[in-house]
């Protein structure tokens, strides 16, 4: 509210003698009547610790600049800005193009601040309700009828399901608030949590990653979302405890903890969906085209995943054919057009993995029977004939990959269990329990030292360098554990000069797809209902992408339905006639 901001400034304009002041972006007073800009400025919070800060954080008088605990006034969006800065710097260190930070992400962020009316607008949203810190609420609570009562605020923050984390802060809110009322270290922390979400896209910690991914996608960096999230978990990109990088003066407490303290790893779907919401919210234009030469194109990603899954290179030919046949390699299909609700949002990594699964199903059927049969033939042939490259043996591949997968999975599980969630900088909900928190922290450190000595293991070594490959298979190994060069001759036959699959059948994962918009899934994956081999393959890619197998299954179903669209239509018609008879769980169809 400009009027409020300029209320204290009562001098007459030097040019037109009016008292009708407005504020410029620079915080200077200008006369609304004659547009004369004065030398006088509003006092602006010292934001020199935030490099990129363009956010208007207007102080309410100099005495509040320094709170009694030595902290300064800060706004939640400033916190997020810092988090984003740390993240994008980490990405830069990983080798993304240097323009991403200043030219892409920074602009997205500014645009977000503007659209969400937090800055770069005539009337920043935060100004309307002013601040809700404790010190103020007692003084001018009557002067602002629009301000919700503290009680109301409390009930909101407690009933709103998605805010209720399992963390102690949430549970301690009710206790603490009774005596000290809601409060936060930041100026608008409490306000932030009660904002109506419908009109605005509220910033959350997972959203910072959506921002990063959006920027990465814009510059078409060769990094997938699953990789980005893996780097986060591996600690290459700041996310957990990122608040420890906040400057000393930015005190976090109370409701701020709910916003910046994360006790969970970012979840693929959440970051993905928020990214799309964000793109639409920012009204971004169509993104740069994803062409065949892009890393995110399924043909490229399939190659990467085939290598990582230790599958024969020859399969790439088949993935390309499937991609071409169903048109998922088209630029229009792959390129993100924000706000276009008619197209399906593409999860590049999951899509590519699913293409490989479909190809494996086409070639090997994966019905717990046919693939072993083929494997036996290949084994026989390999025994008798050592000339040329060996035929691909599914059994051997399964044994080798299963072994490595089990080892890696075990390692990963142990690492997850051993993950240390806390950082040096302890957090406390209120000053009241500060000493208790510090005491606990001290005890934890003592116990860690004591048992660390007994554990015999050397203190955690430096985290390994980030790698886009989790499993690696080298052809130089002579133990035959690399299948990249193996040939698919055993499963193919020549027909009219073209190589086709020997396998005449196919089974569909599902006959009918669910409505993704209504149900949230295209299909429903229940492990027991599917062949073991199929589950193993899903499990392999689920490990590589660190997502649930059902995500890949959904995508497999989608691809199958595109692939068998015509045949399926006929089949469905036929089925309606037979509906009263038995309804098959899966149905077999002749492949292309």
């Amino acid at each position: 509210m400009d009027e409020e901001d300029t209320r204290d400034f009562n001098e007459r304009c030097a040019q037109c003698s009016e008292v009708n002041w407005g504020l410029t972006d620079g915080g200077r007073f200008y006369c609304r009547s004659c547009h004369n800009v004065t030398e006088r400025t509003r006092e602006v919070v010292n934001t020199d610790f935030i490099t990129n800060s363009r956010v208007q954080t207007i102080s309410k008088g100099s005495k509040k600049q320094e709170k009694n605990d030595g902290g300064c006034e800060w706004y939640i969006c400033e916190g997020f800005q810092l988090v984003l800065k740390k993240q994008v710097e980490a990405l830069e260190a990983l080798g993304v193009c240097p323009q991403m930070k200043d030219e892409i992400l920074c602009n997205f962020w500014r645009c977000y601040l503007q659209k969400s009316k937090q800055a770069y607008c005539k009337r920043p949203a935060g100004e309307t309700v002013k601040t809700l810190s404790v010190c103020e609420s007692s003084t001018d609570v009557d002067s602002d009828p629009e301000r919700p009562s503290l009680l109301h605020l409390l009930s909101l923050s407690e009933s709103e399901g998605d805010l209720q984390t399992d963390c102690s802060f949430a549970s301690s809110v009710s206790k603490v608030s009774e005596s000290t009322s809601v409060y936060s270290g930041s100026v608008d922390g409490s306000l932030y949590l009660m904002k109506n979400q419908k009109e605005k896209l509220r910033m959350t910690m997972p959203m910072t990653l959506s921002f990063c991914y959006l920027a990465l996608l814009w510059v078409r960096e060769p990094i997938t979302l699953s990789e980005l999230l893996r780097f986060v978990v591996e600690g290459h990109i700041p996310y957990m405890n990122v608040f420890q990088h906040f400057p000393e003066k930015m005190k976090l407490c109370g409701l701020d903890l709910k916003i910046f303290c994360v006790e969970s790893w970012p979840e693929y779907k959440e970051v993905f969906n928020k990214m799309h919401e964000l793109a639409a919210f920012l009204d971004l234009p169509r993104f740069p085209d994803i062409t065949e030469s892009c890393f995110l194109h399924p043909d490229m990603l399939c190659m990467k995943y085939l290598m990582e899954a230790n599958l024969p290179d020859e399969l790439h030919n088949w993935t390309c054919r499937v991609v071409k046949k169903i048109g998922i390699g088209e630029v229009d299909f792959l390129t993100l057009t924000p706000g276009n609700k008619s197209t399906r949002k593409v999860k590049y990594d999951v899509l590519a993995a699913a293409v490989i699964v479909v190809v494996l199903k086409l070639l090997f059927l994966l019905d717990d029977h046919y693939e072993w049969l083929l494997s036996e033939f290949a084994e026989e042939r390999n025994k008798n004939n050592t000339e040329g490259g060996p035929y691909f043996e599914f059994k051997k591949w399964y044994e080798v990959v299963k072994h490595s997968l089990d080892v890696e999975q075990k390692k990963l599980d142990e690492e997850k269990a051993k993950y240390l969630w806390r950082c040096e900088k302890p957090l406390f909900y209120s000053v009241k329990n500060k000493s208790k928190v510090l005491k606990r922290r001290q005890m934890v450190v003592n116990l860690q030292n004591q048992f660390g000595k007994l554990s015999g293991s050397v203190q955690r070594a430096e985290k390994p360098n980030p790698s886009s490959f989790q499993l690696s298979w080298s052809e130089e190994n002579t133990d035959g554990s690399c299948f990249h060069g193996h040939s698919l001759k055993g499963v193919l036959q020549e027909k009219c000069g073209l190589l086709t699959v020997m396998n005449p059948d196919y089974w569909l994962c599902t006959v009918k797809l669910c409505n993704e918009k209504l149900c949230g899934h295209l299909a429903h994956y229940r492990e027991v209902e599917f062949p073991q081999s199929y589950h193993f393959v899903l499990g392999l890619f689920s490990f590589l992408l660190r997502i649930q197998p059902s995500y890949i299954h959904d995508e497999v179903c989608m691809i199958e339905h595109r692939l068998f669209n015509k045949k399926l239509c006929k089949k469905l018609k036929y089925n309606t006639v037979l509906r009263k008879m038995k309804r098959p769980k899966t149905s077999s169809i002749k492949p292309i």
């Binding site: 399992d166 051993k418 116990l447």
Partner: protein, 436 residues
């Protein structure tokens, strides 16, 4: 109260008879609504939060950590357990002890286990750990103290243990002191036990000196003061229903030394026969031993052993019981004696006990020779004949018994001969013996 719906229209009519249903159908919906009781729909569980699954990664990670620790403990991999515990202690910062066993209790229990077994841990570190655990949870302060004392005792640090017990006894923490009164009683009892140990040491000194003709007054006085301290605390704990074998034994020893037999008898009777106390075979054993020391009548000895027989038919005192019963003039008691010894030999622990077999052999032989009460044997044998031959009289056992214990072999052969008739095993035995 949105979820408390009062549903008028969709309420299904809970009617059984067809007649009533027909009548009801004719009514207008309005009257129907008026007549039917309102259906109060129950509350539904709160809708699951959309992204709640992943929101507890911290908790999940700590739970996984805990299960790794448990696996490591089961496999005695103390180093590995310590490694994971190092990560698990973080969960302390979240512990508000809402659940029954919160992380702090877990850490106390697991940490104790690791420190006790780990080859590199020292008692000093252990004590340091215990001190931390004491500050961590006032609700189990005394339990932790007690555990600490046990470890000190196991480590032979009796003075430190005594000191710790005294400190714990004087612990005051508002309501918590009252809530943990059972633990306080235990702590006092253990202090009493340590006093008893000191008493018994002094007694030993005194007795040794007594032989030399010295009677040190100071030592004697000290001994008496230990007695008083021990007696007060021990007396208290054994009033509470429970299994207090060690305390009872020591207390009775004290009382007997000072000649207070009546009280000792009372304590033991109470311990054995008070129905509030849990069934405890040792209570009857202590009573029997006391009565025996006191030279009490056979009748009272037998009644103590009868109860023991009912609770633990395989108790080692059953030999004594059988011997006493065999000597009895009453038929019924002799029959009971046979039952007792047969029952004892039902247990694998007695399989190679020559004494038990000789008891059985003697009594069986007596009965056969006197040709009276052969039906007793029949009666006992009838329930055992289908499994004793394999259990006691197998070929393998015959051979092994003969190699290891000749007298046992003889007794068993005798019994087998009578029980199985002069059949295969009997001959086998002697054939076997003759061969040798």
């Amino acid at each position: 109260m949105d979820s408390f719906l009062e549903d008028y229209e969709e309420a299904p009519a809970v009617v059984v008879g067809g007649k009533r249903r027909r009548r009801r159908r004719r009514r207008s919906p309005a009257t129907q609504a008026a007549l039917q009781p309102l259906l109060h729909l129950p509350f539904l569980p709160p809708q699951p939060v959309s992204s709640n699954e992943h929101k507890s990664n911290f908790k999940k990670s700590k739970e996984a950590c805990l299960s790794y620790i448990q696996d490591a403990l089961l496999q005695k991999q103390w180093k590995r357990a310590a490694e994971f515990l190092t990560c698990y202690v973080e969960s302390l910062e979240k512990d508000y002890s809402r659940e029954h066993i919160g992380p702090s209790e877990m850490i106390w229990r697991i940490g104790t286990e690791i420190l006790w077994h780990h080859s590199q841990s020292r008692m000093k570190e252990f004590s340091c750990f215990m001190e931390q655990m004491k500050t961590l949870g006032v609700k189990r302060y005394l339990k932790v103290c007690l555990e600490h004392v046990f470890h000190l005792l196991c480590n032979g640090q009796i003075d430190e243990a005594y000191q710790n017990l005294s400190l714990a006894e004087s612990w005051r923490f508002g309501e918590q002191t009252a809530i943990q009164d059972k633990e306080i009683k235990l702590i006092q009892a253990y202090r009493g036990l340590l006093d008893y140990c000191s008493w018994s040491k002094q007694k030993k000194i005194l007795l040794e000196h007594g032989e030399d003709g010295f009677a040190d007054l100071a030592v004697e006085q000290e001994m008496h003061s230990y007695f008083r301290k021990a007696a007060v605390n021990l007396k208290e704990i054994i009033k509470i229903p429970g299994v207090w074998d060690v305390f009872v034994k020591c207390y009775v020893d004290l009382l007997e030394f000072y000649g207070e037999y009546n009280e000792a008898r009372q304590v033991l009777n109470e311990y054995a026969y008070n129905s509030k106390f849990p069934a405890n075979p040792n209570a009857h054993v202590y009573l029997y031993q006391f009565l025996k020391r006191q030279g009490e009548s056979k009748k009272s000895l037998l009644s103590a052993l009868k109860i023991l027989h009912d609770i633990v038919p395989s108790h080692e005192l059953m030999i004594d019981f059988n011997t006493m019963l065999q000597k009895s003039k009453k038929r019924k008691k002799r029959q009971l004696g046979l039952e007792v010894i047969f029952a004892a030999l039902d247990y694998a622990g007695w399989k190679e006990n020559a004494k038990a077999w000789s008891c059985l052999a003697r009594q069986v032989k007596q009965i056969v020779i006197s040709e009276k009460h052969l039906d007793w044997i029949k009666q006992e044998w009838s329930s055992r004949k289908d499994w004793w031959p394999d259990f006691h009289f197998s070929r393998y056992l015959a051979k092994r018994n003969w190699q290891e214990n000749k007298s046992l072999s003889h007794e068993k052969a005798l019994v087998a001969g009578i029980l199985l008739g002069k059949g295969r095993i009997f001959f086998f035995f002697f054939h076997f013996i003759e061969q040798k």
